[in-house]
Symmetry: D2
Subunit: 137 residues, 4 copies
């Protein structure tokens, strides 16, 4: 698949996930093995302090990595492990997770991601993460 | 604080987090350094296959660990790192994350959690995780 | 295999690993899915401050988890991911890593470990870790 | 400090760690926040299959990340968390870990590393990792 077809495929896939629809995840860029996922901020996504819930940073990392792995190998994938470092508070008008495949093996796919918050048009790194996925069939 | 006061305090705190209210997180047990957090299943929480979104398993781990750390040290805490292993599919009528503090140091609090899905009344382990938190002031 | 046979098998296996021999890893207890690995302290194992090198805490976690996984599934296993939290300085006259299998699936084995330092006969928790392993053939 | 002074400082520091001397870690490049650490292969460093022990891949990641953090902030640092993904077998005539600081905060320093094996002059990615460190004083 070329990049346009990959993007179109992921948008359809993304629309089938109820939680992704509620949260507002948008696939904004994709090519085999690399994906960017955007989440506009709204108050529903916040924790106590009114900034992005850490669980949503993890959800962005997990989802972007899953899409990157899926487009790299073609088959369905399932997440086995997700780790996220929260390096700055989750403030911004929108958040963008960029994920890429580091190594796609036969039994496992290793991916990495970064999440930036958009603060006055400037991307600020707020989280880094990595995910291991298992290719299915 | 005794266990009843800890539980009451966490329930008030939990009610101030917009995402936790939307998701439906319920603090069902607590004592200093140990917390149980419950999430009844509904379709909005699902991914493609209609099972619990991995991001919500991470959110449960992160939130339960944060509460366990907070009740252990008394002060506010902020998550620095969260890692989750997804050991079984996220199916169940409800999910319960139990978290406990492993070590509360001056600079960092180390916690661990397990998430079980309720399948016909039987708890089935679906995720294990660990979180590092920083005590604030 | 019964526990005595498992222990004997792991001791032979342990003796085939050059690094384990140099470091001085000793399998001190084992049953299917659970292993204890001991490392007597000596100055060669230290970092700058003269306490146990973090790399050796990771090596203990990795090795103990590998043995626990191997004895749970019978086949050879290979480590895919290892994460360790260092919760206290690595001081003690000996160190003991205890590892157990949390979930042995068809494609992955999830394990957890703790490392204690022996300080005047008292075990003090110095590290916690988790490892994911892949069963081979 | 300029890059030459950083390199000289790290080499002296590296020589004070008994385990690093035994293993043969060599600091081969450094500037504030970025370090490359080399380990020539020899049989003593192996596990059962005769390839680099996973514990030594973790030790390389941990040490390189510690040096990167130390040179970024100037003060002593202590590792809090280290996670490594083993993406390919540890074969090569030498191994090089390259680490860099992703974010140096007041309370924590987040780093990432890659380990390549030298196979016939070609660097092959064998591990990726991340470490969290705490600045002291």
């Amino acid at each position: 698949m070329d990049a346009a077809a990959v993007l179109d495929h992921l948008r359809r896939l993304n629309a089938t996930a109820a939680f992704n629809r509620w949260a507002g995840f948008e696939v904004v860029a994709a090519q085999p093995g690399e994906v960017a996922l955007r989440l506009p901020w709204r108050a529903d996504l916040g924790q106590y302090a009114g900034t992005l819930h850490a669980g949503l940073m993890s959800a962005l990392v997990d989802t972007a990595c899953g899409y990157a792995a899926h487009t790299a190998v073609g088959s369905r994938v399932v997440a086995s492990h997700c780790a996220v470092d929260y390096v700055a508070p989750g403030t911004g008008t929108a958040f963008v997770a960029t994920a890429r495949v580091v190594k796609a093996g036969r039994r496992q796919i290793f991916t990495r991601a970064e999440v930036h918050g958009d603060r006055d048009g400037e991307p600020v790194l707020i989280a880094i993460g990595s995910t291991i996925l298992i290719p299915l069939g």
